[in-house]
C-alpha cells in the first residue's frame, strides 16, 4: 500500500551522541522541535573525506526511529537497519564524505514522518 510521507527537516547537523546501541541520545546543532516520536531518520554514510552524497553513491543508508524527545535539540534514536548490512552504528559516527581525510564531517540527518495510507478504502 502506498504510504504518504512528509519531510520534517533536511540536513540537520549532529553535535554529539551517547549510548552504545541500539538506542542513542543525539544532540543536534539546531532545533528539531517539530520532530515527533515515530519519525524516521535517514543518514547517508559516505567514505570519510571521499566526496559528498550525490543521490546514490552512499556506502550505506542508515535508518533510525525517533523513540524519545528530551528537548528541542536532543532526541533518542533507535537503529533499525542499513542498506549495506554494515550493522548498528552510532548516528554520530557516520561520515558525510565532506571535510577532509584529516577531519571528516559527520553525515547530516534527514527527518521524515510516515502519515499512513491516504485512503483506507473507496466506498461506492
Amino acid at each position: 500500500m502506498a504510504r504518504n510521507t512528509v519531510r520534517i527537516y533536511t540536513d540537520v547537523a549532529v553535535s554529539s551522541c551517547s549510548g552504545s546501541g541500539p538506542t542513542y541520545t543525539v544532540n543536534y546543532g539546531s532545533s528539531v522541535a517539530n520532530v515527533q516520536i515515530g519519525d524516521v531518520v535517514t543518514v547517508y554514510k559516505m567514505e570519510a573525506g571521499g566526496g559528498a552524497f550525490s543521490g546514490s553513491n552512499e556506502e550505506s543508508k542508515y535508518t533510525y526511529h525517533v523513540t524519545g524527545i528530551t528537548d528541542s535539540d536532543t532526541l533518542t534514536l533507535k537503529y533499525i537497519t542499513d542498506s549495506n548490512g554494515d550493522g548498528d552504528d552510532s548516528p554520530c559516527d557516520l561520515p558525510s564524505g565532506t571535510g577532509s581525510s584529516g577531519s571528516p564531517n559527520k553525515a547530516p540527518h534527514i527527518f521524515d514522518r510516515n502519515l499512513g495510507s491516504a485512503f483506507l478504502a473507496f466506498v461506492h
Binding site: 554494515d86 581525510s101 584529516g102
Partner: protein, 349 residues
Amino acid sequence: MEKLSFNEEQIAKECQCPRSGFCEFFGQEMTYDPPNWQWCQNATPEERLWYSEQCEKKRFRREEEKRLFLAGEYVTTEQLIKDCRNLLLPQVAKLNLRGILGVPRSGMLPASMLAMWLNLPLYTLDASDRLFVLSGATEFGGVRMEDHKGTSGRLLVVDDTIYSGIAMRDMKTKIPEHAYFSCVYFRPESDFKPDFYSRELKPPHLLEWNLFNCTYIEHALLDFDGIFCPNVPQEVCKNEAKYIEYIKSVEPFHHRIPKTKCRGIVTARLEKYRDITEEWLKKHNINYGSLSMYPTEKREKRDKNHVEESSTFKAKIFSNSSAKFFIESELAEAVRIREKSGKFVICPK
C-alpha cells in the same frame, strides 16, 4: 565498567542482566540512559538475536577500523615543512610563477612557506572569490615584490592535502586563469590529479596541524599534563600547597584546546584533585566525555614506578574503551600504552 554474567541458553528467552552495565552477550555496555538495558528487558528473543548479530558486525567493523588506524600515519608539522621543502619545492622552483595561491586554511601553511622560499607574492581568494594579494600594509608586498607586478607567469595553487579532490576542483572553478595545482600530500585514489605533489599519503592519517581541530578528536583519549598544559615541574610536585596552586593557575597550551568534545581524558593525576582539574577544564572550555584519574590510595605505588604504573592505568582504560587513539605526552609511557593496548598512540612533540 561492571561486567555482568549471563546464561547463553537463557538469553534468547529473557534478558539476564539485573541492571545496566557491560553485557557479555552483546559484548557492549547496555546503558540505562539512553535506555538500552530497558530495551533488552522488553525485547523479544528474535529482537535480542537480531541485535547480537548487529553487535557482531559492529565488532568486526571496529576491528577493521583499528587495523586500518594502526596502519595509518601521523604527520607532524615538522614533517610537513620538510616534505614541502625537500620534495615539492624542487619541482616548482624553476616554473615561471607570478605568485602562490593558498587554499585556506591549512593550505596557507605550505603556500606561505613556498612564497617565502621563492620570494613570490602570496595570494588567496576573498569572500567574492576574487584574487587577493596578502601584501600587509603595502600596496603589493613592498619593494621586494615589485618585480612580480604584472608578470606573465602562472599562479601555483597549494594545499596541504588532496584527498577527495573536492577543495581543489572547487578552487579550479573559481580561478579565471590557467594555474598549476599542487599539494604536499596526495591520495592516489583522488579524482583530482595535481600537477605537483610531495608524496602520496593513504588514509587514515592524522595531521598534527589540525589534530585538535579535527573531528577525529571525538574518538581520542587524551593525557592531561603535558598535553593540555606544561608538566608540573619536579620541585613544585614536592610541596602540595605549591602543587595545588600550580595546577589551579597553569596556563593551557592554547594550540591544544580541542574544538569539539574529545572522548575522554585519562591522567595519572590523583583523584583527590578532581575538583580543581574539572574547574580548570571548564575555565579553559575543554569539552570532554569522561575524566579518569589515578586512585589516590595507590599514590605510593604510582610514585615508586611512575612510568609503568601510569601507563598500565591508562592502557587499561584505553583497551576497554572504543576510543581509536590515545594522545600521550611522555614517550616512555606512550610506548608502553601502545604495547599494552595494541592500539594507536600519538606522542606529540
